[in-house]
Amino acid sequence: MTSHDVIVIGAGSVGLPTAFFLAQEGVRVLVVDELPSPGQGQNKSAIGGVRATHSDPAKIQTCQLSLGVFSEWKDRYGDDIHFRQGGYCFPVYEREHETSLKDLLATQKEHGLKIDWLDAADLIGVLPGVNPDGLRGGTYSPEDGNVSPILAAKAFYDRAVEQGAEFKFEEKVISIKKESGSAKRVKTDRGSYTAEKVVNAAGAGAREVGRMMGVDLPVVPDSHEAGVTEPVEPFFMPMVVDIRGLPGSTNFYFYQEATGHLIFCLTPEPPIPGLNRDSTSDFLPQASRRLIKLFPRLRNIRVRRVWRGLYPMTPDGVPIVGTLRDSDGFYIAVGFCGQGLMLGPGVALNLVSLITTGQPIIPGGIFESFSLYRDYSRPSEALK
């Protein structure tokens, strides 16, 4: 008899909802994390955007599931996780971006996304104060939104504990071994546990845990910096994504929480690989210039704090979720490329379905996009 049915490695954006949905199914689940409390890895570094606006169908459908979980959470479970359906908006100043975004609309609509191209005047209506000089318009998807990462993590954690999930914090997994029959033994620096099934949801540490499972996962973390301002009276709703490439950064994005704080982040170019999470002196001037160029009135808002979080990247910008070919009972949910928060609940629902029924929720053909064994040289996700 194993100590648990399923051991989830990682109490973050993916591991926490997985634990909750498993526990809700009556599965005896144990979550192990090397950090002291839930969501202390990359979850708390996330800025909070939740969108289904992707180009990869599996990501679109998975995030639609996530949006459902987040948007219904308060009514179902009572916790206010600060979900707000503020939409996503991609303002466009360059012809080439207008073309590429418009090209994606067909696929996106085909999967049921509510998204449209707005001309410049309509876009200014959605983003009052956006710089009108050269604005061509942009896409707007009103059903996307944002959520508080730490409140969501706490909610998943609290409800998982309520449903009987066990958690071990400050325990680092040091080995995973197959035992007799289908049992697996997960050893940590402080204990040893057994289960039939093991889920690798280890975020930036996924590759290391993968090796313990006997597989080399193509997940390489790089880092993005982010910042938060003082609160000011809310004046726009959507997450704004500016996909122009500028020296030092590619796209950059920000939104205003319901409390009025502005949260912003940019994608450094070239990428900064590695596990370092200390803030650099380059980020604030770069991000500030982009923010003011796009929204001149933001020059008067004051930055309160900055941080750096890790993006566990895959070669094609699509996460790796599913089972291992030659090792029954091993599951992976890794390589979220900085989108663990928005993909987390949807991936968790698929995983739990895989674990309990052998089938994902979204159609198997589409789910294949997440397979570890896919062709990584295919066209990559357009809206990373």
Binding site: S37, Q40, I150, E230, V232, S279, N300, I301, V303
Partner: protein, 692 residues
């Protein structure tokens, strides 16, 4: 409430003539005055209301550390305590979440963010930072000093009293404010010291650069060597009503009173009997503010006995084994209730006393401002700390620790500098806590003209020994910590010892005359308008007990100690040696007024002031098993402007109350910025729109 129009020690300065508006009402500020002080001077103590619960917000740290004094200046939210009033400025209260100005022009361009390369960056131009710079400068090293205030000197500029310590090492016997001026002047000799005032160090980055910002520019400094001499911040105290405007730090009070010459209160009470609390009470009396008393939870005050004696003589009671139970009031403090405590600091029911007061000064200790030190250290920078940023002690010790740090940096930069072996010991002496107290010894009396020295506690101080032209005063035992004694009977009556003693603990007795009366000369640091020749005053002993009525015979300046008055009293001969000072504050000020008015329960105490998080919510989380303070961010603790600088210690106090071993508790993750900066400055925009 208003401005201080006369002060015994400080220059009152220029008249307020800069017009500005608050909520549409025209007011006047002094040139260069920060908004919060200008508002206090005009009777405004409520700066807005918090968006979360509508609670009144006012002054708290007066030091740019918190965000309680947020106001809207010309449309932009700013910390009132850090931004000077500009002529014609339109200031409004910050009611709820402020709105950004709507219309704005697109940026013309951005200036590059400068990186200033230097040998040494010193953060903090107080006593430690300046003395370090003075050790470094003669070696030809390039030094940058940043200080967030408008003048050098740090907290020295708030100290109207004469300093303790040693004459040789740290200017003992000179007033703090004069030491600041002297040190700043000394620095002007060196062109290789670059001083950046009104400039705050806001971040230490992984790439070993320090972000600094002033009203015009955000820049990076890349030093070979870094000194953190940023001083201390005041500890907060949690009690019902602790978040009312009018409850603030003693240091914040000194800033208002002694830097900005604002009278922020009519009547106040001090909690904390360390030197900061005792001196704050003294400074209040100097500023003409009534002081109900000083409350100290321990059975003895922690500050120097001479400081305590000084205020007791003036008529301010010190209540040991007492604490503050609560502060009551609507939009600000109206009453303060104190209560006696037993040996385990448990309040004793039935001992409550409530006083009318508009202000409660909190002086329960200081914490080093060391977050930049910790980060720089982690990023592998060559970093040092000195003064309070290193270890909380007197400014005299900070002066000396800056010297030591300076020389260490000289050496680390490849130049030779000797650090004398005895320096360490002298520094230990200067920072030593007050030692044993001894009974007052009888003094030499033969000739009928003699000083009486009421210095009975071992503290680091020696000016009286150096000043006596007849070498009559010697220190027994340790040359600095020991007690001074009169060893000869050759007094000429020069009165220099009376004038120089920082503790105002020496009087001069003259019994040479005939008749039943003798004379006694006592030092006095209040306005000369308080006491006039011919007045009858209450003469008191060392501890402030009434001795006799006394006639004022003479009021003289104690040249060269120009701002100490020497008052000659005529008293009965047999009482002359007992008289130590005179009382100025009426006993009725310290009489209880009525019933307590605070309706707030212990669970409703606001712990995180920035985000208005109450004790009960934090307790519930603690009882629910939360041991990582970062989890408390789900309640928004530590997410506010101050980043947990104020509430972290209070939260740890709640853990202790719940019997949690603090070894099991993980502190807040500390990240840049330590103070907020606008996107415009960070982007390289220049205020006024001149961008290239």
């Amino acid at each position: 409430m208003g401005r201080i129009t006369e002060h015994p020690i400080l220059e009152v300065g220029p008249k307020a003539g800069i017009p500005f508006h608050f909520n549409g009402k025209r007011m006047l500020a002094k040139p260069g005055e920060v908004i919060s002080s200008a508002l206090f001077a005009n009777g405004i103590t409520i700066f807005g209301h918090h968006p979360r619960d509508g609670s009144a917000q006012g002054m708290f740290c007066a030091n740019g550390q918190c965000s309680q004094c947020l106001v809207i200046a010309d449309g932009v939210p700013v910390k009132g305590c850090m931004v000077p009033v500009q002529g014609g400025m339109k200031v409004t209260a910050c009611e709820g979440t402020p709105a950004l100005p709507k219309a704005d022009t697109a940026p013309a361009g951005f200036e590059p963010i400068r990186t200033i390369e230097t040998d040494v960056l010193i953060i903090g131009g107080g006593p430690a930072g300046i003395t370090a710079a003075l050790e470094l400068a003669p070696h030809g090293l390039e030094i940058v000093i940043v200080d967030d205030k408008h003048r050098l000197g740090g907290k020295l500029v708030l100290q109207t009293h004469s300093f303790f310590g040693t004459v040789e090492d740290c200017f003992a016997g000179t007033r703090g404010i004069d030491i600041a001026t002297n040190l700043a002047r000394e620095m002007e000799k060196y062109p290789n010291i670059r001083v950046m005032l009104n400039t705050t160090a806001v971040a230490c980055y992984h790439d070993r650069k320090i972000g600094v910002v002033n009203q015009k520019e955000y820049a990076l400094v890349s030093p070979r060597c870094l000194l953190i001499a940023a001083g201390a911040r005041e500890k907060a105290l949690a009690f019902p009503g602790c978040d009312l405007p009018g409850v603030y730090g003693a240091g914040a009070f000194q800033t208002l009173v002694n830097r900005d010459l604002v009278r922020p209160s009519e009547k106040l009470l001090v909690i904390g009997g360390g030197n900061v609390g005792l001196i704050a009470a003294y400074h209040a009396v100097q500023a003409g503010i009534a002081v109900v008393g000083v409350v100290e939870a321990l059975p003895e005050v922690g500050g120097y006995k001479v400081h305590q004696d000084k205020i007791k003589r003036l008529g301010v009671p010190v209540w040991t084994s007492h604490t503050v139970k609560c502060a009551g009031g609507g939009d600000g403090v109206e009453t303060v209730t104190v209560v006696g405590v037993d040996e385990s600091f448990t309040p004793i029911a039935g001992t409550e006393k409530t006083f009318d007061a508009d202000t409660l000064l909190v002086a329960v200790g200081l914490n080093p401002v060391n977050e930049l030190y910790d980060q720089a250290n982690r990023f592998g920078m060559e970093v040092y700390s000195a003064g309070d940023a290193s270890e909380i002690a007197e400014a005299s010790a900070a002066i000396f620790s800056g010297r030591i740090a300076g020389r260490r940096m000289v050496r680390s930069l490849g130049k030779s500098a000797e650090i004398p072996g005895e320096w360490q010991r002298r520094w230990e002496v200067l920072k030593s806590k007050p030692g044993a107290t001894y009974p007052l010894k009888t003094q030499a009396t033969g000739s009928g003209l003699f000083p009486v020295i009421r210095c009975v506690q071992e503290i680091p101080c020696d000016p009286c020994v150096h000043i006596c032209p007849k070498d009559m005063i010697k220190i027994e035992g340790d040359p600095v910590l020991g007690l001074p004694q009169v060893v000869k009977d050759e007094c000429t009556g020069c009165r220099l010892c009376v004038a120089v003693c920082p503790g105002l603990a020496i009087t001069l007795v003259d019994l040479r005359g005939e008749g039943p009366d003798g004379l006694v000369v006592v030092p006095f640091e209040l306005m000369d308008s308080v006491v006039g020749v011919g007045d009858t005053v209450d003469a008191v002993d060392m501890d402030g007990n009434f001795i006799t009525g006394a006639e004022v015979i003479k009021v003289a300046e104690a040249k060269p100690y120009d701002r100490t008055l020497l008052i000659t009293l005529k008293v009965a001969r047999e009482k002359a040696a007992e008289v130590a000072g005179l009382r100025v504050q009426d006993a009725s000020i310290s009489e209880p007024s009525g019933a307590e008015t605070c309706a707030c329960l212990d669970d409703e105490i606001v712990i995180c002031r920035c985000e208005r998080v109450k004790a009960e919510d934090i307790r519930e989380a603690i009882r629910g098993g939360v041991r990582d303070l970062n989890q408390l961010k789900t309640l928004r603790c530590g997410m506010g402007a101050c980043g947990g600088k104020t509430c972290e210690a209070l939260i740890l106090g709640l853990y202790r109350d719940e019997d949690v071993d603090l070894c099991d508790v993980i502190g807040f993750a500390k990240r840049p910025l330590v103070s907020e900066v606008t996107l415009g400055l960070l982007a390289g925009e220049r205020p006024g729109g001149e961008t290239g």
